[in-house]
Amino acid sequence: MIRTGGHARSILQRGCAQESCFQTRGISHYLRFFYNDPNFLFPISLIPKVHPGTVYTDIVNLDGVLGALQRAISPLLLRTPQASANVVLSSVYGPQGVKAYGDAKREANAAEIAYNAAKAVAVLARQRVTAASSPSNSNGEASEDVHAAAKEAAAQARAAYEAWQSLENSLPPAVRASKLSSAAVASAAAALGATSKANSARTTLMPAPATTAAVTAEAGDPWLHFANGRGQVLGPLALAIKSTSRTDQLARALWAASEFALRRELGVSSVA
């Protein structure tokens, strides 16, 4: 695999250790809970090829963020054989983000909040870029082993993608929602009446256990599935199956609220 440098790994590990990341605790339960399929697999290296804005999962590579970076770099390196790719990791970790956010909040200074949040992001971004430059030679070019590793990784990704695509194409539309999972997932989709929306379901990759479908179906509202009087929970299948206009509406609302917050508190207009 591509070396990403010990510094990035160190940051990752330190940050997660400090913030009580989930680590490996209960992972088997987690996988059963969410996927009902311990063999569920999707190669994260296909990120540039697949549908945007949807959650993808790689349960094989447990190196998490670092693995994601490695795989994401590969196509960039292949795209530009001379290894010209600006890679930036921006990150918000608790020690920086929480402290900055909390300090600013105590000062009741809204501008400081965004200031510090952005600053925390920027600091780590700079470090990450430096770390990402490690697999290079003295001329500033990516080393040969990086090229070889990237090529190999891309080849593996391509093979996996073709296999996945072949499998998908062999399935009838109503079943495609289940992707690589079991018939229980198809039942879950049917329980929500998702069969008729197979086209939207086809773009997703996340099966969910039938028990979840039963709960959400009882709620009656296919989008805001689980109302408990204290707010509404967007159910697990909302993103997995209902990946259509309502999710986008929520995305637009969040964007608008974020713009509103910046404009109101900072006097800064959105530029994008």
Binding site: Q13, C16, F22, T24, R32, F33, I47, K49, G53, T54, V55, T57, V65, P75, T80, S84, N86, V87, V88, L89, S90, V92, V98, D103, R106, I113, A114, A117, A118, A120, A122, R128, V129, A132, S133, N137, M206, T211, R230, G231, V233, L234, G235, A238, L239, S245, D248, Q249, L250, A251, R252, A253, W255, A256, A257, S258, F260, G267, S270, A272
Partner: protein, 234 residues
């Protein structure tokens, strides 16, 4: 007022990008020297419940504030500096259908953005008042889309920010499908005192943010990703 005047965010990133060897031998004819090809927006911590300093106050709840609004602010700044670019500029396009450019590895000159989310986003949710925020959006289509939810939203918060300051979603309270009958008690998987509701919402925000980034053409391609569990140690 420019709250960013003293914040060298874009400058730091540009300098760092320019100094990396990955950039020093560019043969690209379409990308500017400082442009970011791959932007990874990572946010990984679990907001803790009271009496954490995250709780209360007049600003957004800290998990959402840091893990979403922090990146939102950051991206806005990068876009303003021209450090990230979209591809086709096809604003407001339907991203529900696979696009030709997304069917192959990265090929264009725009920025690819990877937003690190989590599967726990599926346990996240927003208060319906959030939809009221669309009322302030200039796009009339957005307004129409929000019309059906306006009554509910305004009843809670006319600004569309109800619950964004931790009015509801904070701590590890009963705000999750994990409490629903027939569902494994997911809290058993989490460390003590974890604010699952707030964390899940922040991660859902990451997913939604990715969708909007691409839809608006701010970057060439944006995806959210669940990186699964992070393996600590070697």
């Amino acid at each position: 007022m420019d709250a960013f005047a003293a914040v060298p965010v874009a400058q730091a990133v540009r300098s760092a990008a320019a100094s990396t060897p990955f950039n020093s031998n560019s043969k690209s004819k379409t990308r500017s020297k400082g442009q970011i090809d791959l932007l990874v927006l990572n946010a990984g911590y679990v907001p803790m419940p009271s009496p954490s300093p995250c709780v209360g106050g007049g600003w957004w709840e800290c998990g959402l504030g840091d893990m979403h609004l922090g990146h939102f602010t950051f991206v806005q700044r990068l876009a303003a500096e021209g450090l990230i670019t979209g591809g086709s500029g096809d604003n407001d396009r339907d991203i529900s259908a696979p696009s030709p450019e997304s069917s192959h590895a990265v090929q264009s000159s725009g920025t690819t953005c990877l937003v690190v989310a989590s599967d726990i986003a599926r346990l996240g949710g927003f208060h319906s008042s959030l939809l009221g925020a669309l009322e302030s959006a200039p796009d009339s289509n957005h307004k129409r889309a929000a019309a059906a939810s306006t009554a509910t939203a305004n009843a809670v918060n006319p600004g569309g920010e109800g619950d964004l300051r931790s009015e509801v979603t904070v701590g590890a309270g009963p705000y999750s499908l994990a409490r629903a009958p027939g569902i494994l008690n997911a809290w058993a998987l989490l460390p003590d005192h974890v604010s699952g509701g707030a964390y899940a919402r922040a991660k859902l925000a990451n997913v939604l943010f990715a969708r909007e980034l691409e839809r608006r053409g701010i970057v060439q391609s944006a995806v959210s990703v669940s990186n699964a569990f992070v393996k600590l140690g070697e």
